[in-house]
């Protein structure tokens, strides 16, 4: 019986659900109660510089805006970013957690699955429904993999922490804002669907990952 109790105490819950975190017994023992159970440190480490590099590749180096190629480069870089930067800046309870390797792959699968609802949302927000479906899906995949570190953390917290919403919203706002250039009559080759929105989601993600810890 006592052993069992010990086990319970050792278990760390990261939920910011008030019913759990404000549990009276918990309250006494948690010396850092004023801090949320899970948070991201305010540090330069979280700034995803690789996204800027990828954008530079996409806009300047790749000819004809190879969206698929960009996606294939994005995936390993996001994983690396998660392992070396984002996860190290995330504090669970009082400590950093080691990277959960199987979860990395599960999250990658989750991102692919997430692209389906993302695609539905993108279409609801006005993307063409019959034409360019593949392009729209690529965009959805980009958005999902930009959210990959946040999604990993969501899984890592068993869906109990609301902190990660910001990251998803930042990516969405980036994409939403970037639509504004599409109707302009500048006749540039980057005004083609979905290039501006891809760039917008990247910028949204860049800003989101950089500043979300502060807000």
């Amino acid at each position: 019986m006592s052993k069992k109790n010990k086990n319970v105490k050792k278990r760390v819950t990261f939920s910011d659900d008030t019913t759990i975190s404000s549990h009276p017994t918990h309250k006494k023992k948690d010396s850092n109660y004023d801090r949320p159970p899970v948070y991201v440190r305010k540090t330069l480490t979280t700034v995803p510089f690789h996204l800027l590099g990828l954008l530079y590749y996409y806009v300047k180096i790749s000819n004809n805006y190879e969206t698929l190629m960009l996606l294939l480069t994005l995936i390993p870089m996001q994983i690396a970013y998660l392992v070396f930067q984002f996860n190290r800046s995330t504090i669970y309870g009082n400590k950093r957690l080691k990277v959960n390797i199987p979860l990395l792959f599960i999250t990658a699968g989750g991102s692919v699955l997430l692209s389906v609802p993302a695609m539905i949302i993108i279409i609801l927000f006005g993307a063409p429904f019959v034409e360019h479906l593949f392009q729209t899906w690529l965009l959805a995949l980009h958005a999902s993999f930009l959210a990959y570190p946040a999604l990993y953390s969501v899984f890592n917290c068993d869906f109990k922490v609301g902190l990660w919403k910001k990251y998803f919203i930042a990516i969405m706002i980036g994409g939403w804002l970037s639509c504004v250039v599409i109707p302009l009559d500048w006749d540039r080759d980057w005004q083609v669907w979905p290039i501006p929105v891809v760039i917008g989601t990247y910028l949204g993600a860049f800003v989101g990952y950089s500043v979300a810890a502060y807000i």
């Binding site: 609801l124 927000f125 006005g126 429904f129 034409e131 639509c179 109707p183 302009l184 009559d185």
Partner: protein
């Protein structure tokens, strides 16, 4: 509160109209007819290369219709182009690309006035005629050419009919007819060919091709047959011509892919132009035609630049030179260089100099200086150099086509600014510095600033879509935060607006193939099932305990359905078999006819009956409410239903199911407004404002005059129509979805409300502020960009839409209709 609102509204509308009177002035023209000025004797005695002219205008004949390999069915014209008996050009027609201003351009050679495009619709107006302006038909008449005219009666409104020995006009307004309107022209040809010694000029104007475009777009299934028919007409005429006859086949303007015109896109401004004569084969073909075999194909078909490009007005001095009459005084045309070889050297040089001098006079009238006077040009004429200079003068003239009345512009703008400041201050005092006021100002600022960019004006629907997506998402997030979490209502609304967004092509830049309205037109069974459901859902709206409303709305609903079905059958839209039978039986009972024309015959009486029923039900409802025979508060609810049925009556059949989506959205928004925003009048008013604008665009409306829906302005009117009735119907038909959403607040805010006046004022305030702020920005944009390339094709139409919206939606619908309804309610 109401008094202040009224004063501000009057100030706003007054300011806008003073501004308009200064911004669209009547153009300066040189009065009187031209006479020769240089080498008068030589010119008078010269023998013209041609003696007879056959002038065939095919309305909306875009350049590719006559030259392109894939699109053109004019095989006879192609063969003549290849032998050199015909010379082809692509003629740039200056916007506004609608018939009346273009005909002015073709006959007088002047640049069109923007007002002409508007007057093209209000045909009865007499201020648009050019009886006092010099034109080549007038010159021909004065020089003793005998002329005959058959075709579009716009010609007879522009020119005094007395200059023609024989004429018959056809009416261009029954857009749905594309057979009879042309047969009415063609049937004159055999007789004219028999009596060809009695005339020198024969003008024909065919409208069918334009009607096909309006109805089914540039690639309509009726197009190839129409091309062959027109080609046949040209062949008949040409075979009977001698070598002293010149035939001109031309389009007055082009069309875009949807079949509309009025704007300045490449398709609309590129009209075809072909000169045919047996004599032409003796001379050198235009250089671009030399090595080209017709029909041809372009590397980039979207440019529509086939063969040599000329200005359409260049036709005027060319015809004048070829038939030896003076160039009309206001012409800005330049003699087409290829035709100078037809004149002998001395006459050719003189004609060119004469043209130069005449152009300079037009330029001087517009205070354009800096070009050499004609007598300073050396006696030895260097043709290519002169032509180059003339082209420069022409460009300057086109650019400076109008004079503005700056006094009116600034007075009008001042009054509007006053109204705007007043309304914002009033808004702050009533609403306080609050969320609704900041949202109103935010939306107004966004739309206002967008007025300075031509693409944003063209694609305004995107901005409204943008506003809608952010509003619904943030409203949902607010509901999440406040813990109500109304997912389904928000989702239904979002899904509804997304459906509507995919319903029609709108904006002026892109055309999608997979819009819902087109898919539905190919599946008439689904379309008409949806249409019937729509009418049913509208009729059944809160009928409980109100049998009178139930019966009257179903009576109206049945009439709407039968009429729309007959209308669709007459217009050869698809129709499921079983409905075809029902409609036929109904029409047979109705008219007593029993043959093919029964649908045609039934249309006008059916529409008249509907309007009468609508009017009498409205009157009875008012009387019943006034005498307290009806439960109070039912007047506005019932009238909303009747008016919705009227809107359905005036909508194209493929758009009717949109009202079903509207109804669905209404059912979803109402609880959101009640629970989440506790029926705040401002919130309801803002939702209504955004949806009015959004649905206006998604119904197919744009900021271009090309998309004004004319087909639905002529229900139930016969030949002798009343112009005001048509005007009202046109406004209702074009603003139909906006009217629906303007009625949306009624059921929510006026039900069981005590302070009618205050609620009414609160409902109108955000709309007034929005309208004033956008007006300030738009008017400033029009003045600042008055020399912009797109001022006539983008900014001026937007200005007209803005004025139309202010008058019809804000004043007539918002005050004159809503006011009395609320008073009696």
């Amino acid at each position: 509160m109401l008094k202040k609102l009224l004063v501000l509204l009057i100030l706003q509308v007054g300011g806008v109209f003073i501004f308009l009177s200064g911004f669209f002035p009547q153009k300066n023209v040189l009065a009187g007819n031209a006479a020769y000025e240089i080498n008068t004797k030589l010119q008078e005695n010269a023998t013209p290369p041609f003696k007879k002219l056959v002038f065939v205008v095919i309305d909306a004949l875009r350049s590719d219709f006559i030259f392109d390999e894939a699109n053109s069915g004019f095989s006879f014209v192609h063969s003549k182009l290849n032998t050199g008996e015909a010379w082809g050009f692509t003629a740039y027609s200056n916007p506004p690309t609608v018939t009346l201003p273009r005909l002015k351009g073709i006959t007088t050679g002047s640049t069109p006035n923007f007002l002409d495009a508007i007057l093209n619709v209000a045909e009865d107006d007499s201020s648009s005629n050019i009886k006092d302006q010099d034109s080549w038909p007038m010159q021909f008449h004065n020089h003793g050419y005998k002329m005959r005219f058959f075709g579009d009666d716009t010609w007879l409104k522009l020119l005094p009919p007395t200059i023609f020995d024989e004429y018959e006009g056809t009416n261009s307004f029954f857009v749905s007819d594309f057979q009879q309107v042309d047969l009415n022209v063609t049937r004159h040809i055999p007789h004219q060919l028999k009596t060809k010694n009695e005339w020198d000029v024969l003008i024909l104007h065919y409208l069918g091709l334009d009607h096909i475009g309006h109805k089914g777009g540039a690639s309509s299934i009726f197009m190839p047959d129409k091309h062959k028919e027109m080609d046949g007409v040209i062949e008949t005429l040409y075979k009977d011509m001698d070598k002293d006859t010149l035939m001109v086949v031309m389009g007055d303007h082009g069309m875009n892919d949807v079949g509309n015109h009025g704007g300045s896109s490449a398709g609309e401004t590129s009209a075809g132009l072909v000169f045919l004569s047996k004599k032409l084969s003796k001379f050198a073909k235009p250089s671009l035609q030399k090595d080209t075999k017709l029909p041809m194909s372009l590397d980039d078909p979207s440019t529509y630049k086939y063969l040599t490009i000329i200005q359409q007005m260049d036709l005027v001095p060319t015809i004048a030179a070829l038939f030896n009459v003076p160039v009309p005084r206001n012409s800005a045309g330049v003699l087409i260089p290829e035709f100078i070889q037809l004149l002998n050297t001395k006459v050719g040089d003189t004609k060119l100099l004469e043209n130069y001098k005449q152009l300079l006079e037009v330029a001087k009238m517009q205070d354009i200086e800096g070009f050499l006077d004609e007598d300073r040009i050396s006696k030895k004429v260097d043709q290519s150099k002169i032509i180059q200079t003339m082209k420069q003068i022409q460009q300057t003239i086109i650019r400076n086509a109008t004079d503005y009345n700056y006094d009116n512009i600034f007075i009008g703008y001042g009054v509007l600014v006053l109204a705007t400041i007043g309304s914002v201050v009033f808004g702050i005092s009533v609403m306080g510095i609050s969320v609704p006021l900041s949202i109103t100002l935010g939306i107004a600022a966004l739309i206002g600033f967008s007025c300075f960019g031509s693409s944003f004006v063209e694609e305004e629907h995107q901005l409204w879509w943008w506003i809608i997506t952010i509003s619904i998402s943030s409203s949902y997030i607010i509901s999440l935060i406040s813990g109500r979490g109304q997912f389904w209502p928000h989702f239904i609304v979002f899904f509804g607006v997304r459906l509507i967004r995919g319903w029609n092509n709108t904006g002026q830049q892109t055309v999608y193939n997979y819009v819902i309205s087109q898919q539905l037109q190919q599946e008439p069974a689904i379309l008409w099932a949806l249409n019937i459901w729509t009418v049913f859902v509208v009729c059944i709206r809160d009928f409980k305990g109100n049998p009178v409303s139930f019966i009257s709305s179903f009576t109206l609903g049945m009439m709407v359905m039968t009429y729309k079905m007959s209308w669709a059958i007459v217009n050869k839209e698809g129709m499921p078999e079983y409905l075809l039978d029902i409609t036929r039986k109904y029409c047979v009972i109705y008219t007593g006819f029993n043959d093919e024309s029964v649908f045609d015959q039934a249309l006008i009486p059916m529409a008249t009956l509907f309007f009468r029923c609508f009017a009498s039900i409205t009157v009875i409802k008012f009387i019943a409410t006034a005498l307290k025979m009806q439960k109070s508060n039912t007047l506005m609810n019932d009238m909303t239903k009747y008016i919705t049925l009227l809107l359905i009556f005036l909508s194209p059949s493929a758009n009717i199911p949109q009202y079903l989506v509207f109804e669905l959205m209404r059912y979803a928004i109402t609880p959101i407004m009640k629970k989440q925003y506790s029926t705040s009048v401002y919130a309801v008013s803002l939702v209504s404002l955004v949806l009015q604008n959004f649905t206006f665009f998604q119904f197919g409306g744009t900021n271009s005059i090309a998309t004004i829906d004319l087909a639905n302005a002529y229900h139930g009117v016969s030949e002798n129509y009343n112009i005001y009735l048509i005007g009202v119907m046109m406004a209702v038909a074009n603003f139909a979805p906006a009217i629906y959403w303007a009625m949306f607040p009624w059921a929510i805010i006026y039900n069981r409300c005590d302070k009618k006046g205050t609620t009414f004022g609160k409902n109108k305030l955000p709309i007034l502020i929005f309208s004033c702020v956008v007006g300030c920005c738009l008017l400033a944009a029009c003045v600042a960009l008055r020399y912009h390339l797109f001022i006539w094709s983008v900014f001026s139409p937007k200005l007209c839409y803005y004025a139309g919206w202010a008058i019809f939606m804000n004043v007539i619908m918002g005050y004159l209709v809503e006011g009395p309804l609320l008073m009696f309610n």
